[in-house]
């Protein structure tokens, strides 16, 4: 697996930030916008710095989303020991919604009025973004791009599993990437769901989300394939489900029907019951609507005393299309190192919910011993696109 986010470049920096409770959310530095009042979880690198790291010439037209994708994918492939010498059918499944919007919004008037930046027209769409990332490595025999807003990367992992089972690929690399764009920062602002303070998921005082950005990928393969290649898997993807809330284009239903069904069907798919889940990695964006709806769905399925629940959004910001795989990587780190990522910025329980999220200072956490074997991870998107994934220790 591989990751780049506000927590740093790579799995090690991510783990360290999670274990020391160091948030990557802060004042806006890289995006050119007048809305500097909103805290964001930016990747702490300019595009030029990322291009340098990747050895890409300055003259090559790239987008921020694809650069982050390349960085995360580079770590992923190196860790899984995948390269062009493998002679395998490797599929790349990428989730993104913003695609090349960062350049389109920068050069849109040029697209309309002159010919100075036409090279960025064909980097706009989501498919072009995935191909730009894939072409840097040149090892993929099939590429799919999923765009279901904030559940895109989780759905990429779902498709990856199905594709493997169908025998169409030997190995699947799945995940998502998304940079913060002025377009969706302003879009979320018009919906009045951005907090001017650091976000507070599952807190009574929550007032919205902080946008984040990043990219993360996981390598999926059968046990047999891993054995043949002599690699040790990190975990098992035990189950998954994709459902639709079918309630509203941008809001979740009060009873969290889509979320409830996603978690329930994922458990069924894994052949598990709620008692098997040791930790719920919630979507928990910090908006009034999401946390109330998701919390209600959790209570409906797990009862009034659910297993530990936390949202990592206060660490990374909401990485939108990348969130599903950013959190899949974090769940795998939790399994590997036996810890539960805390829900930062929590102080007051939501009155309507019977449970508090998992929180506490590093020293308070250190004394707790929790056997973490199986994790349920939620990713919910606009349009009610709800997906749950279940990861388990080998």
């Amino acid at each position: 697996m591989g990751i780049v986010s506000a927590l740093g470049n790579g799995v090690n920096e991510t783990l360290q930030a999670l274990q020391t409770h160091t948030s990557g959310v802060g004042a806006l530095r890289y995006l050119q916008t007048s809305h500097t009042e909103f805290p964001v979880g930016e990747v702490k690198m300019t595009n030029e710095e990322m291009m340098n790291l990747l050895g890409i010439a300055e003259t090559v037209p790239t987008t921020r989303t694809s650069l982050m994708g390349m960085l995360a994918l580079k770590e992923t492939l190196e860790q899984a020991r995948l390269n062009s010498t493998n002679q395998l059918r490797i599929a790349f499944i990428n989730g993104t919604t913003v695609g090349g919007m960062d350049k389109s919004e920068q050069f849109y008037l040029d697209f309309l009025e002159n010919n100075t930046h036409n090279e960025y027209i064909s980097t706009h769409d989501c498919g072009a973004c995935s191909e730009m990332i894939a072409d840097y490595f040149g090892i993929f025999s099939q590429i799919d791009t999923i765009s279901t807003a904030c559940s895109s990367a989780a759905n990429a992992i779902v498709l990856g599993a199905e594709l493997l089972k169908s025998g169409r690929a030997d190995i699947v690399v799945a995940g998502g990437c998304e940079c913060i764009s002025k377009f969706h920062l302003n879009g979320f602002n018009t919906l009045m769901i951005l907090d001017r303070e650091p976000c507070r998921p599952f807190d009574a005082t929550r007032a919205g989300l902080n946008l984040g950005e990043g990219a993360a990928y996981v390598v999926l393969e059968s046990e047999e394939s891993a054995q043949k290649r002599g690699v040790t898997p990190l975990s098992t993807l035990l189950g998954y489900a994709n459902t639709c809330d079918a309630f509203h284009q941008t809001a979740s239903s009060p009873e969290g029907e889509g979320a409830y069904l996603a978690m329930k069907k994922a458990l069924e798919n894994a052949g598990l019951t709620p008692e098997h889940i040791d930790y719920i990695n919630a979507h928990g964006t910090g908006t009034q609507n999401n946390d109330a709806s998701e919390g209600t769905a959790i209570v409906r399925l797990f009862g009034e005393t659910p297993p530990p629940v936390s949202s990592i959004k206060a660490f990374t910001g909401h990485t939108t299309s990348a969130a599903g795989s950013v959190e899949a990587v974090i769940c795998n780190l939790a399994l590997q190192h036996n810890f539960i990522p805390v829900n930062l910025n929590f102080s007051t329980r939501i009155a309507e919910l019977p449970f508090e999220p998992y929180y506490g200072s590093p020293s308070q956490i250190a004394s707790r011993t929790l056997p973490i074997k199986t994790i349920l991870s939620n990713s919910f998107g606009f349009g009610g696109n709800d997906t749950s994934l279940i990861f388990s220790k080998l």
Binding site: Y108, T148, F247
Partner: protein, 333 residues
């Protein structure tokens, strides 16, 4: 498990919600033609018809018609392929943002700007909580959606699925894509729009058009198409190959070269001459091929070469995008 196309509907540059194009195709001469809209008030509540952008209205109408015809009220999967999503609303929001700054923007345009707005609108309308997904991979978006549905049907995970392919082309975006060289070239078939919805099922209905025997995709990154593993099994007994030639020599050369290598001697069919060019046009290729199989006849205007009157049972739809992506959909009677 066999997979059938039990119903299929389209709104395009040809007569909408109709098969009139089969005998009397509209031959467009402009470089850019919008789809022929229906009177949406006949199909949607007036407040819904007013509120939604073109792509959403069209998607909702063709989906509702396809579901109605196949007798499925709540599909077990709703999967959409779209190259650019709701580009008209994206454009409005974006233009206001770059011209007038970051204040006073309208949330409605943003809410209906994401690619997955389409699939979720259909789900909201049908009150359908099942699997819901959206693929946005430029020229192969439809085949990504189709393959997802096909895998789930083939393995018995689901029994039916609504698969859609939707793209709108605004005058502004046509201008932009003309600059990038994708559309509006000399001799190129016109730039068009797509709204196609099909109900797939493992159970054949009385009015089923044809079966889908395989859906394969390959990425070559521009390298030559070789080692067509997985595709070979689709190639036996193919009577016709339906391809996406669009009148531009270097674009069509990729088709002709690969066809000569893979399907040597098999007669070729076309569809973009009457439906136009666009990211999800391959769905109209599948639609045209399915209609031919259903009628047991191929109209003159679809032949790329000499007209042929032989009996046929299998049509392979081959699409390539920029020589990098190649997709194969095998349909049979």
């Amino acid at each position: 498990m066999s997979v059938y196309i039990n119903s299929i509907q389209q709104i395009s540059a040809q007569q909408p919600l109709s098969e009139d194009w089969f005998n009397e195709p509209i031959m467009h001469t402009e470089a850019y033609n919008r789809a022929i809209d229906v009177d949406y008030k006949q199909y949607l509540a007036p407040n819904v018809a007013r509120r939604l952008g073109k792509i959403l209205k069209r998607a909702l109408v063709v989906s509702k018609k396809a579901m109605e015809e196949s007798g499925v009220a709540q599909p077990e999967a709703i999967i959409t392929g779209t190259g650019l999503g709701c580009i008209e609303n994206t454009e409005i929001f974006l233009e206001k943002l770059v011209r007038e700054g970051e204040e006073l923007l309208n949330p409605t345009y943003f809410m209906q700007s994401t690619h997955n707005t389409i699939s979720s609108l259909i789900a909201i309308d049908a009150k359908c909580h099942s699997y819901n997904n959206t693929y946005a991979h430029s020229g192969i978006s439809f085949e990504c959606a189709l393959q997802d549905a096909f895998i789930q049907l083939e393995t018995g995970k689901i029994k039916n699925a609504l698969v859609g392919a939707h793209d709108e082309m605004t005058p502004v975006y046509f201008g932009i894509l003309k600059k990038s060289g994708y559309l509006g070239k000399a001799n190129q078939h016109f730039a068009g729009e797509t709204a196609v919805a099909m109900m797939l099922s493992t159970k054949k209905s009385e009015r089923a058009l044809c079966s889908i025997d395989g859906v394969e995709k390959m990425y070559t990154g521009g390298k030559e198409l070789e080692g067509v593993r997985g595709v070979k099994k689709l190639l036996s007994d193919v009577d016709y190959v339906m391809i996406g030639t669009n009148g531009v020599d270097e674009h069509d050369a990729v088709y002709f070269d690969n066809c000569a290598q893979l399907f040597s001697g098999i007669p070729l069919l076309q569809y973009k001459n009457i439906f136009g060019e666009g990211y999800t046009m391959p769905a109209l290729g599948v639609y045209a091929a399915a209609t031919c199989l259903h009628k047991g006849e191929i109209p003159n205007h679809l032949f790329l070469g000499e007209k042929n009157t032989k009996k046929f049972r299998k049509i392979l739809c081959y699409n390539q995008f920029e020589g990098k992506n190649h997709t194969f959909v095998l349909l049979s009677r």
